[in-house]
Structures are given as C-alpha cells and as structure tokens.
C-alpha cells in the first residue's frame, strides 16, 4: 500500500467534508434557489451576484475574508464564541462553513435553472387539483427538477472535493482534522514524495471520474453541466 495512514485520513476528511457540505448545501440551497426562481423582486440580481462570487473570486481572497469572519473577533466566529461554541478557524466545522460558501453557486445555480424551466404551469395544475403550495413544492417541483438536484449534488460534491485555496486559508493543514487530500498532495510534491502524490492524485481522479460516469449513466436524458 503506497498510501500511508496520514494519506488515508486526509482522504477520509475530504470525503466527510464534501458529504456534509453537499448535504447542507442541498438543504439550504433548495429554498434559496426556489425563491430566486420565483421571486420578481427588483433587487434579486444583487443576491444572484453575491452567490456567483465564488465562481470568479480567487480562493485566497474568499479564504481570507472567511478567516476573518470565522475568527473570534469576526461576525460568525464571534457569535459562536459568545454562545459558548468551539473556535471555528482551523477546525473541521470552520471548513464546512467555508465549503458551504464557496460551493454555493454550484448547487444554487443548477437548482434555480431547474425550477425556472418548470414554469408556473405544473404548479397551477397542481393547485387546481387541490394541492397546497407546500404540497405543490414537494409533489411536483422537486420530482420534476430531479435531474437538477443530481447535477447540483454532484457539482457541489466535486467542487468541495477539489478545493485547495480556501481550505488552506481557513483550515490550515492539521493532519486528521483539517488536512484534506488536495493539500496532502501538495505536501508530498513539496517533499518530493512523487509516488505518494501519484497515488493520492490517482484516487481523486478516479473518484471524480466514476462519480460523473454514474451521474451520466443514471441520468442519460440530461446534461450534468447546465449553462
């Protein structure tokens, strides 16, 4: 086995981070995307631009601001500290919060597109058949936007899996806690351990590829990347 214990731990931290973040993103992103798709509020575009920021912002910039926000004197870290919570910077919880921010557009945008392309008609039909708005959402909107959920989940997961800059800024590089696979690979290369870098990089490559294959296979009628 080329991968040592620390590499396996890094892989495990990565998968755990990606899973928890994706789950949180789907739970938080769905109502947000639904609102964005349906709202006619004039200043909606401000929210849309904010959500899209991580797409173009250098990860180090995003990470820097998140570090300040999560610190004991920052708005998020301060509140958690005041409530008696653990420090967030350089912790796994901090990484999850950071991931939710930087993967937000990858989840919200496909969902928003999916909900928008439904149009109002299926919901109107459901209403005339006696379905309440909540019932319409769960029995019509969500099942009809299924492919968008798969896309959003995969993109959110994959993007979290591959993040480097933000993680380095807010999580540091603590083995077993905040060291993720992408950073472990960097460490191996720095210390010229190419064999181990190969193994870990291969793992991520394979994982990403298999994931996309599964999605394309399960969802042949749709494309994974929506415009």
């Amino acid at each position: 086995m080329i991968l040592d214990q620390q590499d396996l731990t890094a892989l495990w931290v990565t998968l755990k981070l990606a899973s928890i973040s994706t789950l949180l993103l789907l739970v938080l992103g769905t109502p947000l995307a639904w609102w964005l798709a349906r709202s006619r509020w004039r200043f909606k575009l401000v929210i849309e631009a904010l959500i899209a920021l991580p797409l173009i912002l250098p990860p180090s910039v995003l990470g820097f601001y998140l570090l300040l926000a999560l610190g004991p004197n920052g708005p998020i870290g301060g509140v958690v500290d005041f409530l008696g919570g653990p420090p967030l910077a350089f912790s796994f919880s901090g990484l999850v919060i950071g991931s939710v921010f930087y993967s937000l557009p990858f989840v919200v945008q496909p969902l928003q597109n999916g909900f928008s392309s439904l149009g109002r008609r299926p919901l109107e039909v459901a209403a005339t058949l006696g379905a309440s708005p909540l019932d319409q959402f769960f029995s019509v909107a969500i099942p009809m936007a299924k492919s968008s959920f798969i896309t959003a989940g995969v993109l959110g997961f994959a993007h979290t899996l591959g993040e480097f800059g933000v993680v380095l800024m807010i999580g540091g590089n603590i083995p077993g806690s905040t060291q993720v696979a992408s950073i472990a690979i960097y460490d191996h290369v720095e210390t010229l351990e190419y064999a181990q870098a190969h193994a870990l990089a291969g793992c991520l490559l394979l994982l990403s590829f298999v994931m996309l294959l599964l999605v394309y296979g399960a969802n042949r009628r749709y494309s994974v990347v929506t415009p």
């Binding site: 005339t128 058949l129 006696g130 019509v140």
Partner: protein, 356 residues
C-alpha cells in the same frame, strides 16, 4: 351553487379587463371572444390563478376574494383544464389521474371513474408516460384527471385549441355528452363558434376586456344587435325532439314547437333531444307555402326583427314557438316581399344543410 358574482378589473401593460356580472352556475356557460378579448384572464381570475386581480368574486355569498381576502386556488374547489394538456411529466397516466383523486374532498366513485375512463378510451393508456401519448390522448387524460375530482365548478380554457381536427372531433362529442350527464356547472372559454354552438347553454360575449352581451345561447346567436348574427357563418341553434325515423329514405323526423323537421341522419333514440345548428344562409323565406319544391322543411314563422347587413343583404330574426331562427337573404328579396316585423311567413330549410 347557483351563480358566481364577478366584479373585477385586471390591469395588464396595454390591456384592461373589466367585468361586473353574475354568471349562472347551471349547465354550460361559454365565454366567447376573439383572442386578446380577455376571456382566459377572466377564467384564470375565477380560478384564483391571477393574484393582481382587483375587486371581488363571490359564489353564493361565499367570498372567494375581495379587497382583504383571497382564497387560494386549491381551496376554491374548481377544476381547470388548460389549453395545453400539462400532464405531470414525472408521473404515468394512472398517477396523473390519482394526483387529483387523492386530494379531492368528494371525488367520483370508483365505478363512475371506470365508466368514464372506458368512455374516454383511457384504460389502455394507464401505464404509459405522458411523452408516450399523442396530443389528443394527453388532453383526454388531462380532462379525465380534472373530472375525477368532481369539482364544484369546471373551468375549461380552450381545451381543444391545441389539437388537430381529427382529435377535436374525437373529444367534442365526449365533452357534449359529459357536460349533459354531470351536474357540475361548466365555464368554457373558446374562440371557436362551432364548439360553443354544440356545447353551451349560456353565452358571455367578451370584446376588448368588456362584456358586450350575455344570455341564452339561442338569443346571443341570433340577436341582431350583436356581432354573432352578422358573421359570415352566422347560425341559429335550436333544440328539437326525435319523433320518428323514415327507414325508406333514411330521414329522422324531429319536432320543433309542434312542427316537423326532416334531417338526413342514422336512426336516433325516440324522444331524445337533439340540438340543430342551421346557418342563416341556408334559410330562405316564402310568403306562401310552396307546393312544388324540393325543400322538405317549410316552417311557419313570425318575423321578429330584421337588419340590413352591408349593401346587399338583410338578416332576419324569426320566431317559431320558443325557438329563434336566423335567416340571411338579399336586400332585394326583402324589399320585393315587403318583409317587416310581425309578418307571418314561411322559412324554408334545405334538409341537406342541417347538421345534427
């Protein structure tokens, strides 16, 4: 429910719908008008699908909406058939139909449902997905999906407009029959006069967002003050009863106010009621009963009113019992015969021109 009180205005960019009326909730009420007259907007307002509707809608003193209250669509107990079938793409036909069934307060009985699905030819389609159906099949399923919920009020928005002619002629007789059997009041929006002539009991005429006429279909089709009687294909609608069948000649004898009419038709159930559509251009006028004519249907009528159309034609509104016929003749003939309101004359209808 007996009537729905609508007093609303809906403002769009370049269009205002302003309606203040009572719509009878018995039989089939058709809302008729050209495209852009606001008929769909009116129907959607009744269903609660337009939330910027100003004014009030009440059904038998139950407020559906006014300045302060708004009853959501799913609480109004209305059924709505859209122009596009709009089946739920993620559900098969059976589950589409079950969707409304499971949410309805007083749905059709399983026996009624079986009967209806048989009648509409939906049984063989139950396990198919919507995309495996033709447009006509999809719309039949959409209509069935609404009917099984047994709504208090059935609203249909040009349900045949998106279909081909073949599919239309499939569904139309079914709708006629269903509306007769169900005791559900129906409001039916269309811009196709023929559909309305076959389906409707009452008519609301809409033009540029305003009601220009409202009443029984026989009155609306023949009133010389309304545009329908002056259309190129103006027609009258009369209710008759089947009294006889002439095997020899293949003619059905119908009775209208005690007078016999002959139509070419396969045998019909004796005593059943048949609605006839007769185009104004197929009725001519004679002062005396002609003896040597190929025309079998000669009916004594009284001229109710007449109105010139263009330079060369005159429309006549003719009374026979409770029924009204519409005739279009040349102005020259009208002058030669010296026709005026109150005259007793004979209406001659070519048998071959009557559609059953």
């Amino acid at each position: 429910m007996t009537s729905i009180r609508v007093d609303i205005s809906v403002q769009r960019d370049d269009f205002t719908l302003e309606v203040n009326t009572d719509i009878a909730l018995s039989g089939v009420t058709a809302i008729f008008g050209s495209s852009g007259s606001g008929k769909t907007t009116l129907l959607r307002s009744i269903a609660g699908l337009i939330n910027n509707t100003q004014g009030s809608i009440r059904v038998n003193n139950v407020v559906w909406q006014n300045e302060t209250e708004f009853l959501s669509t799913h609480r109004r107990g209305v059924g709505f058939v859209f122009q596009q079938p709009s089946l739920f793409e993620h559900l098969n036909v059976k589950k589409n139909i079950d969707f409304g069934l499971h949410r309805a307060k007083a749905p059709m009985s399983p026996k009624q449902i079986q009967l209806m699905l048989d009648l509409m030819g939906i049984q063989p389609l139950l396990n198919r997905m919507p995309w495996q159906l033709s447009g006509g099949e999809q719309q039949r399923v959409a209509i069935a999906r609404t009917l099984v919920t047994n709504p208090n009020l059935l609203l249909l928005d040009e349900p045949l407009a998106a279909l081909g002619d073949d599919q239309k002629s499939d569904i139309l007789p079914f709708l006629t029959q269903t509306f007769k059997q169900l005791s559900i009041p129906v409001v039916y929006v269309s811009h196709v006069k023929d559909e309305i002539a076959k389906l409707a009991d009452h008519l609301v005429l809409l033009e540029s967002g305003k009601i220009i006429g409202q009443g029984e279909i026989k009155e609306m089709f023949t009133s010389l003050d309304l545009p329908l009687a002056h259309a190129l294909d103006a027609e009258s609608v009369i209710e008759t009863e089947v009294t006889d069948y002439d095997e020899n000649f293949g003619l059905v004898r119908l009775t209208l106010a005690g007078i016999s009419l002959h139509v070419a038709s396969p045998p019909l159930t004796l005593g059943s009621h048949v609605r006839l559509q007769i185009f104004a251009r197929d009725i001519s006028i004679a002062l005396e009963k002609p003896n040597n004519s190929s025309i079998l249907n000669v009916i004594p009528v009284i001229i109710d009113s007449l109105k010139q159309q263009g330079k060369s034609q005159v429309n006549l509104r003719l009374l026979v019992g409770n029924s009204v016929l519409l005739s279009r003749i040349t102005r020259k003939s009208a002058l030669q015969l010296n026709l005026k309101p109150g005259d007793s004359v004979y209406a001659q209808i070519k048998t071959a021109a009557i559609c059953v």
